[in-house]
Symmetry: C2
Subunit: 327 residues, 2 copies
């Protein structure tokens, strides 16, 4: 219940040891990378030290989001893409955001299943992470985990989410490039449009291309994308076909990632996306700090007291919020 | 881009007119209720006035969350449940949280389709609302919309969400009672467990009970619920079967809602849930106000300036956040 103390304490880490841990992680030691990510997950009080040490090294990695509904083959696609990126000489980290509830430890089993494909390859790091609640799915832990993986020297950080609505929009806000994965037989075009995927994808990949209906999904998707109004000279998202299980089509996905990267850089969009992402990060950190302050002042907290007054009909949330704010 | 001015301005509403609008809404005028909800959606600067006027009347409604994956029959179930509640004399409001992206106006079409069933009944109010991004799906607009519908006098406020992971957890935090809807053929038990639904439901309803596999879904779900550790004397979620299209089984759902309500009151859990919900509301309002402050100070905003420094590797999000906070 007090992550701010257990985070550092459980592992016996002190602020003085942070630079060595960061150096070990940057040296390619997976265990050290894992410990840094655990500090993020635990909201450790050492995070400010960690981030200060990493700051000069952040900004190298290409951050790639991969999202899609359950059943489209996200894990298989991620594995195949990582294998392809390895062939091209990139060190790749995978952050799989697990939609399990914050109450259960569902993320761990997934890790063990995933590790087997790339076991023993120090150029691949895979970690599942539970989606964190309060300030909205991705906005707290995931961006900081992405920052760590970037700062310790991976060339590509792949962030995999179960994309339904909100989480897709959020990941698009945090990735340089967002891949939306679909598959035949997973619902019609209207559902796709409803989930908002037409606005967030930089690349669309129709997986399970060996199944009936894949080319129809591609055709429908292209038609829908063509309807979306886009100004001239912007990126027009390609729609690719893959069979991730056999790696068919995966090299073309890696190529398209490179093309999108080149466009991001030449258009200035990379800088814009990164500034936006960091704004969200700073806000999330600041808001988290304020929340801890509000919850910890006095017996039960000032916030608790105000909430009881609102429930009793004595005041309202706006007046209560006003009384919490400085100045 | 500046909802704080368009909200009031577009409709020509002044602070002085708020009490009359609230009175009209409490008098059962659907148009007035709709205008109040528009103020919530627009984040109008008049919201503090609205909430102050409503404060003494809030707390009467039973807030019921209804969540389930796409395709389980949420709209049909909501309609059938509303019809049953009407037969029992309750005035019912439905808030359908639309997972459409914040960029598209997807919520509106849904409204028109839904209205037809209860058209002309002043005891039913139905509104779709886009899920709002930044501070996490439900946490900003939906709770305030629920507060409005409660304050204007509905007996039941039904909040319908497409439940996949995060949003289920959030709605459970905001409803007095959460109904989790399932259907045969929508995925196996492991997926159900993965989405965290076993922790959030107060009532489980297996819809489309006329299809093959419904009783198996119920059996599996009961087995999984039995595995979950629950202390003695807590609520044990029932698993009911319905065919919403024909209203079969729907009266039993309404009965179960009443039983859960009685338990909530006798156990003190109602008060606990409501205080928790209001805490989140106050926080969301306070954090929103702070964010607006950070974003509006100076050219492009202090936050933007800090974000650029972080992207340039000159500082990190923690140090940047620290410099934003008072004291």
């Amino acid at each position: 219940m007090t992550p701010s103390t257990t985070g550092g304490g459980r592992r016996g880490l002190t602020a003085a040891a942070v630079p060595d841990l960061v150096a070990a992680a940057r040296d390619g030691q997976s265990r050290a990378v894992g410990r840094l990510l655990s500090l993020v997950e635990d909201e450790s009080p050492l995070l400010p030290e960690v981030m200060r040490a990493l700051a000069p090294h952040v900004g190298h990695a290409r951050i790639v989001g991969l999202t899609g509904a359950p059943g489209v083959g996200k894990s298989t696609s991620t594995n195949a893409l990582v294998a392809e990126l390895r062939r091209r000489g990139d060190r790749a980290a995978v952050l799989a955001i697990d939609p399990s509830s914050p109450f259960s430890g569902g993320a761990l089993l997934g890790d063990r299943i995933r590790m087997t494909d790339h076991a023993g390859d120090p150029g691949v790091f895979i970690r599942s992470m539970a989606a964190r609640g309060h300030l909205g799915g991705l906005s707290w832990t995931a961006p900081q985990a992405m920052r760590v993986l970037d700062g310790v020297g991976f060339d590509v950080v792949l962030v995999e989410t179960v994309g339904v609505g909100q989480s897709e929009v959020e990941i698009a806000g945090h990735a340089d490039t967002t891949i939306v994965l679909l598959a035949p037989g997973m619902g019609d075009g209207i559902q796709a449009a409803k989930a908002g995927i037409l606005e967030v994808g930089d690349l669309y990949v129709v997986n399970k291309a060996d199944r009936d209906g894949a080319t129809k999904v591609r055709r429908d998707l292209r038609a829908m994308l063509a309807l979306a109004e886009r100004p001239e000279h912007v990126w027009r998202p390609p729609v690719l076909l893959t069979t991730a299980a056999t790696a068919d089509g995966v090299p073309a996905v890696a190529d398209a990632l490179g093309e999108h990267r080149a466009w991001l850089e030449s258009s200035g969009e990379l800088e814009r996306r990164r500034v936006r992402r960091v704004r969200d990060e700073i806000e999330a950190v600041a808001l988290g700090a304020l929340r801890r302050r509000w919850e910890s002042v006095g017996a039960g907290g000032r916030l608790e007291e105000l909430a009881r007054a609102v429930v009793a009909g004595e005041t309202d949330p706006y007046a209560a919020a006003e009384s919490l704010l400085p100045g």
